[in-house]
Every structure is written in C-alpha cells, then in structure tokens.
Symmetry: C2
Subunit: 232 residues, 2 copies
DNA sequence: CTATGTGAAGAACTTCACAGCT
DNA sequence: AGCTGTGAAGTTCTTCACATAG
C-alpha cells in the first residue's frame, strides 16, 4: 500500500501510518531533553546520553529518530541544534497553534494560567463557559465568554485549530460536537468520559483519576510492575 | 520464572508481570462505563456492549477481564454489580488512598478543588507549597503548609501513600526524593520534566503540553493517523 | 575506534476462531 | 442459541547485531 507521505520519511521503507504512536510520545520526551540541554549550552548528544536522560533504550532512541531521517553523525552523535529543529519540525511545532479552552472551572482557569502552553507554541486565544456567574469575568486578560458564542467565534476565527475541553462529563460530548462542527482539528479533553468523534479528528483524553487508579493498581500489586513503562 | 501472584490470577498461566500495562489502562475505562450504567440501574452487559461504549474491541475486553478471573456468564454476559466490584478490587480501589499535593500554584489548587479524586477513592489530606505568600492560605478547608514540614507530616502520617507533584520543573526532583524518602509509594507528577526514582516507586507523569504536541503531530501529518489509539 | 542507522530476530500485544457453559 | 473464555495465529513494537560512516 503506497501512500503520499506528508511526514518526510525520505527513502525509508515505512509509511507514516507504520510509525508507532509510542514513537511520537517519545519524540516529545527527546524534545524536552534537547530543549533543556540547548538552554544549558550543550551542543552535542549521543543516543546513549539521550537514553540516560529519558530512560529510553538507546536502540529505541536511534530507531525512533531513524523513521524521520538521518540526523546524527556516525562516531559523533547528534547536534543539539539540529535535533531540536528536526523534532519541532516533525511534531508540527514550527508554526504556533491557536487554542480555545471550553470550561472555566478550576481546571479550565488553571490551564489558562499555565504558561507552559504558550512556551511550547500553543496560544490560548479565548475561554468559554456556560455559567452566567463566570461569563464576563477576566482571567489573564481574557474575558470569559458564553458557550453560546463559541460557534460564532470559531466561524470568524477559522485559524483556531485546537480545542481543550474542561467541562463536566455531562456536557463534554455536546461541546466536542460543537468544536468538530466548527473546524477544530484536534481536541484535548479532561472530561472523565469517553467521547465519540469522527475518525478524522485528532483526540486525546486526559483523565486525572485514571492515572491515580493505575497507580493504585501497581501499588496494590507489586509483582505486576514492569521495568518498562509507557507514559504520556 | 515463577513468582508469587498477589493479583488473583487463579489457575491462569499468566503471572502478574505478564499482564500488559495497556490492559490496566483499559480496566479503568471499563470501570468508568460500569459505574455509569450501575447508576442508571442497568444490571447486565455483554462484551459487545462494553465494546460499543469504550471503542475497545470485544475480544480484547474479554481477554483483559480473563486475566483476572471468570466474571461473566456464557450466553448471558457480565453482571454489572459483579464487574464493578471485581474491577475495583483488581485496581486496589476497595480501600481509600490518602494523597498529598505538593505545589499550590494554579494547577495544585485546581486539583484540590477537583471533586473527582474523592469520588473515586483518593482523599486529598494536605497541600504544601514553598512560597511564603501562599503558606497559611486556605483552600477547600485546607491550610497550605510549608514544604519544610512535609517530611515531618509524612513521618507522622505513614498511611499517606500517594503524592501528587504540581511544582515547577526545577524543584520536581527534590520533592520527588523527599516523598520517596518518606514512605510514599506512588507519585503522580505534572512537572514537565523526567524524574529519576527507585524502581519500586510507582510513577506516572502527566505532561499537559506533551498531549498538545502529540495532537500537533497528528494534525500536521494526517497520513500518520491510525485507527487504534492508546490513551490514559 | 566510536556511535549511528537498520534489517532481522525476538518479545509483547491484539485479533481470531472456536470450544465450553448456560 | 448465545456469549464467554482462551490457545493459537497474526500483527506490531522493541531489541539486537552489525554494517556503515566519520
């Protein structure tokens, strides 16, 4: 099956859909390390050193990177500046992403305050809520707007591509539908419920209690612990 | 390699460490559905229906559950009340877990306010911060305490088993060390940095920007999308 | 001599097909 | 007849070993 490769997988005999999801998760970890070292003025790193920093096997580090090109120099390692640039390019972080937050409860407000999003290229451009007491209040220079104008807002701002859902479980599906109907391409949901979406919408769910439940399992069952772990 | 099985894997020819991590993640999803249906008064569910609710293949639903016992009735399905009880038991959710939060910034405070933790069996018992302006302030009936008394607190409250780290990247490792040195068995970290921990400490990391970066990748590279997805 | 890049081997996970109960 | 439970098959992901390049 031959497909147009919009990821630059050069002369490789892998198509983009053969690249493991876990690889993408790990790319973000490499980027984290590389950004830190870049700030510290380090100029070069080997897969073994990247392995030390991330606890990801060095074979896997090289395999992951090799899906996208040959970024290293044999006998030497990877140049930090090159690796950083390439990772950002692969992950689509060269351009900034306009993002709306729906839900101005504690979590939604915490997310607006969180500076990490902007630092990494995600610009929060508006926040919405359904509660009359919250609408009109200001956070970080934003006025909380009514969810009833969300649709209109997205129509007049078609460059907003990502929506963050921080509403209660009961209204999550409704909001998700609204976002999808108005051009949003990616959704990050914090609602503790499964949401149904069309296949072509990119969707990630973070359920805070899920993580605690998984921790509970491994605390309760120490023999179940593995040496490896997959985390996002 | 034969090991003592503290998970009740009965006559099965699997040891606890052979149960996939992904299975545990999915168990929490089954639990979510089963709790919802239980509230709605539904008494029975088949693996096919569980599959519809979770978008997890029904073969996999049955395989996941079969690691831990035979909870269903052939020809009929699973009794909701039984499944709920068993899932909670497997995940170690029969007893409640005392949990401390370290870091009273926006995120830490949002977590304290979040009622979902208590609903699922995780009791927030204290919150700590290093900033003099925050120490002494009250949230949800808790006085924010100094991180300098964290160690003392944990020593006099040895039944606290889980720590949530919501401090900046720079102090995350320090706090993690402190928690581990004082009997904490599981750590959930929101710090955008890798933390080094002894192997026997259960550790989960939630990096909020990581999820957005992964979304960015799949938005930017539509051909890379897969039909399956692993989410926590 | 060092460290990358990668086909091939191996391990882990998922899907399948159907035997086994109710 | 219907749906679970599970060995076996199939697929995906990780590890390995080594050819390759500096």
């Amino acid at each position: 099956m031959l497909r147009k490769a919009d990821v630059d997988v050069r002369k490789k005999n892998v198509t983009p859909d053969q690249i493991p999801y876990s690889t993408i998760v790990r790319l973000t970890q490499y980027l984290r390390v590389v950004e830190k070292l870049d700030e510290l003025g380090v100029s070069n790193i080997s897969s073994a050193e990247l392995s030390d920093e991330t606890h990801i096997n060095s074979f896997l580090v090289r395999k992951d990177l090799s899906y996208f090109g040959e970024f290293g120099t044999r006998g030497v390692g990877y140049e930090i500046s090159v690796l950083k640039r390439e990772l950002k390019s692969i992950l689509g972080l060269v351009k900034r992403h306009k993002t709306v937050i729906v839900g101005a409860g504690n979590l939604g407000r915490a997310l607006v305050h969180y500076s990490g999003f902007r630092d990494k290229g995600f610009d929060i451009v508006a926040i919405f809520d359904s509660s009359p007491e919250k609408i009109g209040a200001s956070i970080e220079g934003f006025k909380i707007e009514s969810v009833f104008v969300l649709e209109e807002y997205l129509k007049s701002n078609p460059d907003v591509t990502i929506g963050i859902i921080a509403v209660p479980a009961a209204s999550a599906q409704f909001i998700a539908n609204l976002l999808v109907a108005n051009n949003i391409q990616g959704i990050l949901s914090f609602a503790p419920i499964a949401i149904n979406l069309p296949e072509d919408v990119v969707y990630a769910a973070v359920d805070l209690t899920t993580h605690l439940e998984i921790i509970s399992y491994y605390i309760t069952n120490p023999d179940a612990r593995k040496s490896y772990s997959l985390r996002a």
